[in-house]
Symmetry: C2
Subunit: 152 residues, 2 copies
């Protein structure tokens, strides 16, 4: 695993501007309906051209307020202690070896280097790593199965 | 944009083992049906517990063979010269400021620290950055719109 042992360096392409500043109280779906902005580095403005044609985009961002250092490998999903501990790769906890968040959000408006979006679960000040167009045929699955604890 | 100007360091959690070694010839959907493996660092094996309950997972990986350095900000999507150049954030080209690929794949089997998967568009040796469970209600959009050049 030589390749995997080397480190990778990212340079943020922008930043999240949101009214959500502290980590919100534990509540499912708190981000629904939240409108926020992504400010892309102005040197990359042109790289957003054409994004307006998509209703939804995928945002990869750095969960800068998540825990770092040594992490528990198994956790109760969303602090639901009635659910047995799951491996951290089986849940969406921000406390991960590489704290990258992946959100699919509605693109309300693009104005120059600013994207106005709805439904982003990132805190104010989160560095943005990548923006990708959401492609239904590639990014969604028609027949996906999830364990029972997800839907309970 | 103070936060955005700092760099972020990732440490791969594993590596892709695939029969796809050179970048494949330009063809849409070449990865469909491809079965490959992700070998997770053995210190993180326990963090995969519970992933078996999901039919699909999201893989974030480093596109190590993509171009680096100074990139064109606009490109013809998939080298389709009949389509006007689009900003690189409006297409899924691997040649991006941060070369992170995001794929949704079927999880065929988990055996210890090895995930056997179908439909990953990563080349052999790609460092893996994160594994997340695919959550239909969070990761898919029912009414997403895309520009006409996508479907033509």
């Amino acid at each position: 695993m030589d390749d995997a042992q080397s480190t990778i360096i990212l340079k943020p392409i922008g930043i999240v501007r949101s009214e959500i500043k502290p980590p919100p109280a534990e509540r499912r779906d708190w981000w629904k309906g939240i409108v926020s902005e992504i400010v892309i580095d102005s040197s990359l403005t042109e790289a957003l051209d054409g994004l307006e044609g998509f209703s939804h985009i995928i945002v990869l961002y750095w969960m800068h307020q998540a825990a770092s250092g040594k992490l528990p490998l198994k956790v109760h999903p969303m602090d639901r202690t009635e659910v047995p501990r799951q491996g951290l790769f089986a849940v969406r906890t921000p406390n991960r070896p590489n704290r990258i968040g992946k959100a699919t959000v509605r693109l309300l408006q693009r104005q120059g280097n600013i994207l106005r979006i709805e439904g982003l679960d990132a805190l104010d000040g989160s560095p943005v790593i990548d923006i990708k167009p959401y492609l239904p045929g590639y990014d969604s699955v028609a027949d996906a199965k999830v364990p029972q604890w997800i839907t309970n």
